[in-house]
């Protein structure tokens, strides 16, 4: 990364100072009781590099407009395949210098550094991506970033900043991958996205790590007037993963959706904390997360619809459904509401259940063995989320990745 301009260096200094000043998280805090920060390798000494088994093969760039790939924080040359005029896809460290007027007002504005995970990322991120889509421009193919950990370093820190201007349209994919690692490696990622009036952004986050990875992910989206933002998060890999998407409806008439699926097997532990905040009237938000849990895995969903005073006409929904596939697997679901405006439509639901016996019998009566029948039902259960991904090829790849977990 090139030398950061003074304002960016100062932010980094402050973040580093905050790390010392902020109280150490013990895991006794209400927000952290399900996933102690120590399990995310956020406290204690930085993990040393771990050996790896195998390597990661990246999918072809076919069907992408651009790709930025980072290995252990080191960027490969950007692959710009087909970008319309005015669209910027750049390494974020370089964008701090080249595109200060665009980056400076927004970077750290949705996800700052006054809390520990935020400060950690702000102090250390190196694998950064900047995506800018100017007014009215429609990017037809997705921009993709890939963060790869090889185990050579003890941590990988990524940061993505996306700006979609008025009436513009884009899809961005953030992909997190590694081979199975012999020891713990800490990952941190922050995605900030801004969708201006009438703009449209689809963001897909795919957490496909191998074993050993401990990942804290923050996803924040701001939607302007009549803008649409869709965050789709797919968590399949890593030992301990905590994902915190927050959708800010900053403009009236905006439409913000956070969709997710997770499939935890073996001894995996995933926590998703998904929030929509209605800072403007007449906005729509929908949070839908679906999970399957097998073996001794454990998942946690915390969802919250926040409607402060002054947001009449809010239309907000929240649903979390979990399927327990085997004895010993566990899921917790905590759907929450904080509503301080009177004229709103809000609903929330959380459920943990088993696969329907009649569905299992129906498939078994066609010769399909029991566990395979349950998996088929689970993939069908995930389809509601996958169907929200516009690019068929990506949808198919993620469906195949979920299937590959239990092959």
């Amino acid at each position: 990364m090139a030398d950061a301009p003074a304002w960016a260096a100062e932010a980094r200094t402050t973040a580093t100072a905050n790390l010392d000043a902020l109280p150490v998280l013990t895991g006794m805090e209400e927000e952290w009781r399900f996933t102690p920060p120590a399990d995310l390798a956020m406290t204690g000494p930085e993990p040393s590099g771990a050996g790896a088994t195998g390597t990661v093969v990246l999918p072809a760039t076919e069907g992408r407009s651009a790709r930025l790939a980072f290995t252990d924080g080191v960027p490969a040359p950007a692959e710009i395949i087909d970008l319309p005029d005015g669209v910027i896809v750049s390494e974020l460290g370089q964008a701090l210098i080249d595109h200060e007027s665009l980056v400076r007002p927004r970077l750290y504005s949705l996800a700052g550094f006054d809390d520990r995970p935020g400060a950690l990322n702000a102090a250390h991120w190196d694998a950064g991506t900047f995506v800018y889509v100017p007014r009215g421009v429609h990017l037809t193919l997705p921009v993709e970033t890939v963060l790869t950990a090889t185990g050579a370093t003890g941590r990988v820190f990524g940061r993505t900043l996306i700006i979609v201007e008025e009436g513009a349209k884009a899809t961005v994919v953030d992909r997190y991958v590694s081979p199975d690692l012999d020891g713990p490696v800490q990952a941190s990622s922050v995605v900030e996205m801004f969708v201006a009036e009438g703009g449209e952004l689809e963001h897909v986050s795919y957490i496909g790590w191998g074993s050993g990875m401990r990942h804290h992910a923050t996803i924040r989206a701001s939607t302007g007037k009549d803008a649409r933002a869709r965050s789709v998060n797919v968590t399949l890999g890593g030992d301990v993963v905590r994902v915190e998407p927050t959708m800010y409806c900053h403009g009236s008439g905006s439409d913000a959706r956070a969709l997710g699926m997770y499939f935890a097997t073996g001894n995996q532990h995933f926590e998703h904390r998904v929030v929509s905040r209605h800072e403007a009237p007449q906005a729509y938000s929908n949070l839908l997360y679906k999970g399957a849990i097998q073996d001794t895995a454990h998942t946690v969903f915390f969802g919250n619809l926040v409607v402060p005073p002054g947001a009449p006409g809010t239309d907000a929904y929240q649903t979390n459904r979990n399927l327990i596939l085997t004895e010993g697997a566990r899921a917790d679901t905590i759907p929450f509401l904080e509503i301080e405006t009177a004229e709103v439509k809000c609903s929330h639901a959380g459920a943990v259940g088993r696969v329907d016996d009649e569905q299992v019998f129906y498939l078994m009566s066609r010769g399909v063995p029991e566990l395979e029948a349950k998996h088929l039902i689970v993939y069908g259960f995930f389809q509601e989320v996958l169907d929200q991904i516009s690019f068929g090829e990506l949808r198919d790849e993620l469906a195949a990745a979920a299937r590959a977990k239990v092959r």
């Binding site: 569905q359 129906y362 009566s365 010769g367 069908g380 389809q383």
Partner: protein, 254 residues
């Protein structure tokens, strides 16, 4: 006479600890089509589920041999792999699972090996045309939003693809209009023969006008009360189940 594909002896079945079947004796030689008739609550569907291996239907006595093997020892998937098929009265919806994905998984499972994609596509095209399905049907989610007729035709399509040795059709005629009943019956007739025997479970005689049975059994209160030829069905058409102590008619309600 060929060996029976299905030999049921003194079968007792309980559902949630309530005895439903109280000693059923029934034998179907390979390749024959038998009808199992009876009024509501006589135990016909219980027999179907018990044979297919639904875990709620507990075999508490007697035996069932399928091709000489003890069915009670097998889970539902194993029974299907041995060539037993149940066309269900109420096919279950499985959201998000496409018909194509389901059918290919089922064919692979029952064959015990992966069918090549092209071979499957050809097979699907041929059999779905037989049952008058539009090709776009394959992208729909399993039984979700299917009409009553589509569900039943889809059951028979599965039977055509899985090529079982023996099929139980549980009230396949219920809720079908004449056209759908004709399509379903033609589907069954195209498959019946020395390699496929059937047990057609029905309350009404209507479907038996399209699929002529070799033997007709009447079930009442958890036992086989009478066995005869096709003329027994005609007799029931006229008299209903009155001589078995039920006032339900057996001629078609619609």
């Amino acid at each position: 006479m060929p060996d029976p594909i299905l030999k049921i002896t003194g079968l007792e079945v309980a559902v949630d600890n309530t005895p439903i079947l109280k000693g059923v004796d029934l034998e179907v030689p390979q390749g024959e089509v038998h009808a199992l008739m009876g009024p509501n609550g006589s135990g016909k569907s219980t027999l179907a589920y018990a044979l297919a291996g639904h875990p709620r239907y507990e075999i508490t006595g007697g035996s069932v041999l399928f091709g000489g093997e003890d069915l009670a020892e097998m889970a539902a998937d194993e029974r299907a792999q041995k060539g037993l098929f149940l066309a269900m009265q109420y096919p279950v919806e499985v959201p998000g699972v496409s018909v194509m994905n389901f059918l290919r998984t089922a064919v692979n499972a029952s064959r015990g090996e992966e069918i090549p994609v092209r071979e499957f596509a050809k097979l699907f095209k041929e059999k779905s045309a037989l049952l008058q399905f539009d090709p776009s049907f394959s992208d729909r989610y399993l039984n979700e939003g299917f009409s009553g007729g589509e569900k039943k035709r889809h059951e028979i399509l599965q039977m055509a693809l899985l090529e079982p040795k023996f099929a139980i059709l549980d009230e396949t005629d219920s809720g079908l209009d004449v056209d759908a009943l004709r399509i379903v019956s033609e589907g069954v007739n195209a498959q019946r023969g020395p390699d496929l025997g059937c047990l057609i479970i029905t309350h009404y005689t209507r479907i038996l006008r399209y699929i002529t049975p070799d033997v007709v059994h009447v079930m009442f209160e958890g036992r086989i009360a009478q066995t005869g030829g096709p003329e027994l069905a005609e007799h029931l058409e006229d008299k209903g189940y009155v001589e078995f102590g039920s006032h339900e008619p057996a001629n078609a309600p619609n």
